[in-house]
């Protein structure tokens, strides 16, 4: 079982049947499609390319693959997608990825280093700022490392938020905002020691009591995820 598989299964479990889910490329795409095959068959998958209610048979590589358009309930233009659907707050759960995240849940997908001459030029904002601001609930998925969980972002691409409707799921753990809005460690995945998570976080991470341990991925979850990836 790979760390990415654990992260994907944990994210899939966060989705409830019937929710309207905004899906991006990469791990969120796998998580949402996995949930739809398991406990949440009636989730409405929305891709920012304009596909609403897509039911892909295999994992799309891009958010605009032909399979998404062919299986969607409705197709809309990009201005309509961001105006009437995402911006208007019609998304229950929005998934985001990040290159860097800080203790407030702000994320950077723009540059590593100085903006004008970056060390690494990342893809940029895409739909993230509006998803972060307008989705009823936000789930951020990224690998846990001190380079990703930083004291200070090189660039603020999208804003975090406090409250219950914000969850960070990594290959090691689950983080949620506390009462003051600062992310704290609420659960580790089975076999992960809290110290590992603290060492992989670039700020002094608060550990919440009682610290939970997530249920390991089950055999059916892993089988379905691997079958989904194999169909690509």
């Amino acid at each position: 079982m790979t760390p990415e598989e654990v992260m994907t299964v944990m994210a899939a479990r966060e989705l409830e049947n019937g929710q309207v889910v905004l899906v991006g490329v990469g791990p969120p795409n796998a998580a949402a499609n996995l949930a739809r095959r398991l406990h949440a068959p009636d989730c409405v998958l929305v891709y920012e390319s304009g596909a609403i209610g897509a039911k892909p048979q295999h994992l799309p590589l891009s958010i605009g693959d032909d399979d998404l358009a062919a299986t969607a309930d409705e197709l809309v233009s990009v201005p309509e997608m961001f105006g009437y659907w995402i911006g208007a707050g019609r998304i229950d759960v929005g998934f985001l990825g990040a290159a860097q995240i800080d203790r407030r849940g702000n994320i950077n997908t723009t540059v590593i280093g100085a903006y004008d001459r970056p060390k690494v030029r990342l893809p940029g904002a895409g739909g993230a700022p509006e998803i972060a601001a307008a989705a009823k609930e936000v789930i951020v998925m990224l690998r846990h490392s001190p380079r990703a969980f930083v004291e200070r972002l090189d660039f603020v691409t999208s804003l975090g938020r406090g409250g219950d409707a914000f969850t960070v799921i990594t290959d090691l753990a689950v983080l949620r905002p506390g009462d003051d809005g600062e992310l704290g460690l609420t659960a580790v995945h089975a076999g992960v020691e809290p110290e590992q998570v603290l060492a992989a976080t670039g700020w002094p991470l608060r550990v919440r009591e009682p610290l939970e341990v997530t249920e390991p991925p089950t055999a059916p979850e892993l089988e379905e995820l691997r079958a989904l990836r194999a169909r690509r």
């Binding site: 304009g50 605009g64 105006g83 307008a134 999208s158």
Partner: protein, 265 residues
């Protein structure tokens, strides 16, 4: 009209140029013709630069890029775009950076010939401080703070569609992206199509652009590869994955472009 003539007549050095198509219907053949004709100093606009602008940027045709997501979807980086921003190779590239919502609103305002579009978002992010075409404004009715984004009105928009009829009306279907807005926002519009048909037949999710908002149509079957045209082709995901390796190295890229673009057509 032949694609070469359409590009020669409508695309000029220094133009602000929008090639649109959100993953679907990307006008690759037109981009390649622009490369063969050696256009320079272009100010490129595209929501997702994609492989098509990675090629134009890597060949040194662009002085500026206005965009909102500069990755190879599901694969990773656009290496030529990165090389231009990180190292100024082969030429310096100025970036004007939006979110998808912001750039979509800028196109829509451009199509409506309004000075700016309005959206939520941007507030509190560094995108706002790095981009002069974004500003905070207050609603005159409720006082709510929202973001204004300056309209985009390119000199030229180029799109690819499935059908044109004999009178020059154009129809596209499937994921429609921001093509209607790009065409209506632009001073001049050029369309490549898969096929000319006798009559445009109604289809679900079709976008029709009447002849009188277009300046030139060129018939270029398959002109969207490795992107795709709904009803004609599927996205060549294997090529998008292969582009990662082709584009990583400057020499390998130059060789590929010479062999597959410059010495073709």
């Amino acid at each position: 009209m032949p694609l070469a003539d359409a590009v020669a007549e409508h695309v000029r050095d220094g133009d602000q140029l929008a090639l649109e198509g959100f993953t679907h219907l990307i006008p690759f053949a037109a981009a390649h013709e622009i490369l063969r004709q050696g256009r320079r100093e272009l100010a490129l606009v595209r929501m997702t630069p994609d492989v098509v602008y990675d090629q134009l940027i890597g060949m040194g045709c662009a002085r500026q890029l206005t965009f909102s997501y500069g990755g190879n979807p599901g694969v990773g980086s656009l290496h030529r775009f990165r090389d231009a921003v990180e190292h100024g190779w082969p030429v310096e590239l100025e970036v004007v950076e939006h979110s998808h919502a912001g750039l979509a609103a800028a196109y829509a305002a451009g199509a409506a010939h309004l000075p700016f579009g309005v959206l939520r978002g941007y507030e509190g992010t560094d995108l706002m401080s790095e981009n002069d075409s974004v500003a905070a404004v207050e609603s005159p009715f409720t006082g709510e703070r929202v973001s204004a984004v300056k309209a985009i009105n390119p000199d030229v928009a180029i799109i690819h569609a499935q059908h044109a009829d004999r009178r020059g009306n154009v129809m596209l279907w499937g994921l429609a992206g921001v093509q209607k807005e790009a065409v209506l926002a632009a001073e001049r519009a050029l369309v490549t199509v898969e096929e000319v048909v006798g009559e445009l037949e109604p289809r679900p999710h079709a976008v029709v652009l009447p002849a009188w908002v277009l300046n030139a149509i060129a018939v270029v079957p398959g002109g969207t590869w490795p992107s795709y045209a709904d009803g004609y082709s599927a996205r060549d995901n294997a090529f998008y994955a292969a582009w990662d390796e082709i584009s990583r190295d400057r020499d390998r890229f130059a060789e590929w472009m010479r062999e597959h673009v410059l010495e073709v057509g």
